[in-house]
């Protein structure tokens, strides 16, 4: 079964992903051989992506920071149990997503928004200026409110739907990769993605194109 999964993964993986997976495998082998410092390369490589996923799942930057660190610690502690059936990044994503989901289940009733600032590299879209003018607010203030609104809409989704849309829209993973991380079928991923988008559209319809 693992062999089938590995072969299918190789067939669907893009060349870039395959190169990335091979490079990760070398670093993992180094860490296993006792070169603990080599793990830092994996941390630097994946910390932003892992953080972004967890932040979009929790909508809280402090929780996201702690959970990201915990995910790396857990991966470091159990790196000897990493069998190589999946690529390292899938395995690490699975650890991170499962940790975040467990945290969300434990703290279901507690939601504190703690939003991040937008990256300065991003160009401000035109529609943001227009919406800010419509709302009669300053652009920065409106952008902050909009981020808050988007986080609230995300938190209204179920954990599974939120995870799927985060992995697909925020991190840009494929359906197959999401299915592997969430240990479900691609059909399930597509279905969850569809319903998550429908729900977001319904919740944000006053902002969206009609």
């Amino acid at each position: 079964m693992d062999l089938i999964k590995a072969v299918s993964r190789m067939l669907v993986a893009t060349p870039e992903r395959q190169v990335e997976a091979d490079a990760d495998a070398l670093i993992v082998a180094e860490v296993r051989a006792g070169n603990v410092a080599a793990f830092d390369q994996l941390v630097i490589k994946y910390r932003e992506r892992i953080y972004a996923i967890i932040y979009n799942l929790t909508s809280n930057r402090e929780d996201a920071s702690d959970l990201t660190q915990d995910a790396f610690i857990r991966a470091f502690q159990s790196i000897n149990r990493f069998g190589g059936q999946s690529s390292f990044f899938t395995w690490l994503y699975r650890i991170a997503v499962n940790g975040a989901r467990t945290h969300l289940r434990k703290n279901r009733l507690r939601t504190f928004f703690s939003i991040e600032q937008a990256s300065e590299e991003e160009k401000t879209p035109e529609w943001l200026n227009m919406l800010a003018v419509e709302a009669g607010a300053e652009k920065e203030v409106f952008a902050r409110d909009l981020r808050q609104r988007l986080n609230e809409s995300f938190q209204k989704l179920s954990i599974k739907h939120r995870t799927v849309i985060t992995l697909f829209e925020i991190d840009g993973l494929s359906h197959a990769e999401i299915a592997e991380i969430m240990e479900c079928t691609e059909g399930t991923v597509r279905s969850r993605l569809h319903y998550a988008k429908l729900q977001l559209q319904a919740d944000l319809q006053d902002l969206l194109k009609r």
Binding site: Q117, M130, K197
Partner: protein, 279 residues
Amino acid sequence: MGSAPQQPPSRPTLEELLRFKRAERPAPEFWAEFDRGLRQKQLAALMKRPQGWARVRPVFVRSLRWIAPATAAVAVALVVVQMPLSTASRKAAVEVVTLPVRTVPVATAPVVAAAVQEHQVETAEVQASTRIVAVAPIPTPAVHAEAAPLAVSAEQRSERYLPWSTVSLSELGEGRTASRDTFVSLQTMGETPRPRTSWTSRFSEVAQEITAEQSTGRVLQLTSYDLPAITETQPVAVRVASTGYASSENYRHGIRDRDFRDMESRMGSSSRSGLAIRF
């Protein structure tokens, strides 16, 4: 040619909104703090000794290598040891059931009056495969005496025994010692013991119905069988050694035929058991 209605350019799509959300990233200084925290956690994880299940797990996994085969070997050994034992116990049970009981011919068996009068209770010897538990008093047919309570050994209270046994009047007559095969209680039979008061009183009732003429051979001791009331007009079924049942005019008082058969089936005795009843 009508032009297609144009959407106002100010409204974003959902994908654009999600792209806007994707732009939320922490400042570069955040990562310095993040790395420091991660380093501390990493060191703590390295220094921390495993606790609970994590500590026991490696030992458990290592011990599984020999626990499983050892358990299987012990189970097989137990089965091998138990098989001959259970076969032997079954054989012993069969032997016990088929123990012959000495019978005294009806015609030649004397009536022992002395045994009837004294109502003494004795305990017989213990045989290897049988257990002697009680000696019943010999009823006095002529005087209709009440049967004395049976002597029951301490062991008997916790063991199962045959609900009935036979006593030879002739053997009890002189010296009042019971022969080995006179009073037999078997531990392996299925009957559960009843309170002594019940079966002694029933025995007493039956014994009172037996006349002196009828008590020429052995006397049936009923220990746990609930006999119906016996009337003088009912025919009597007598089991003579291994010859089966016989109704006779000489045994007018006693147990009805169907009750006798019912009793025997409940006791599990067969026609080859050699048990005999005489009145």
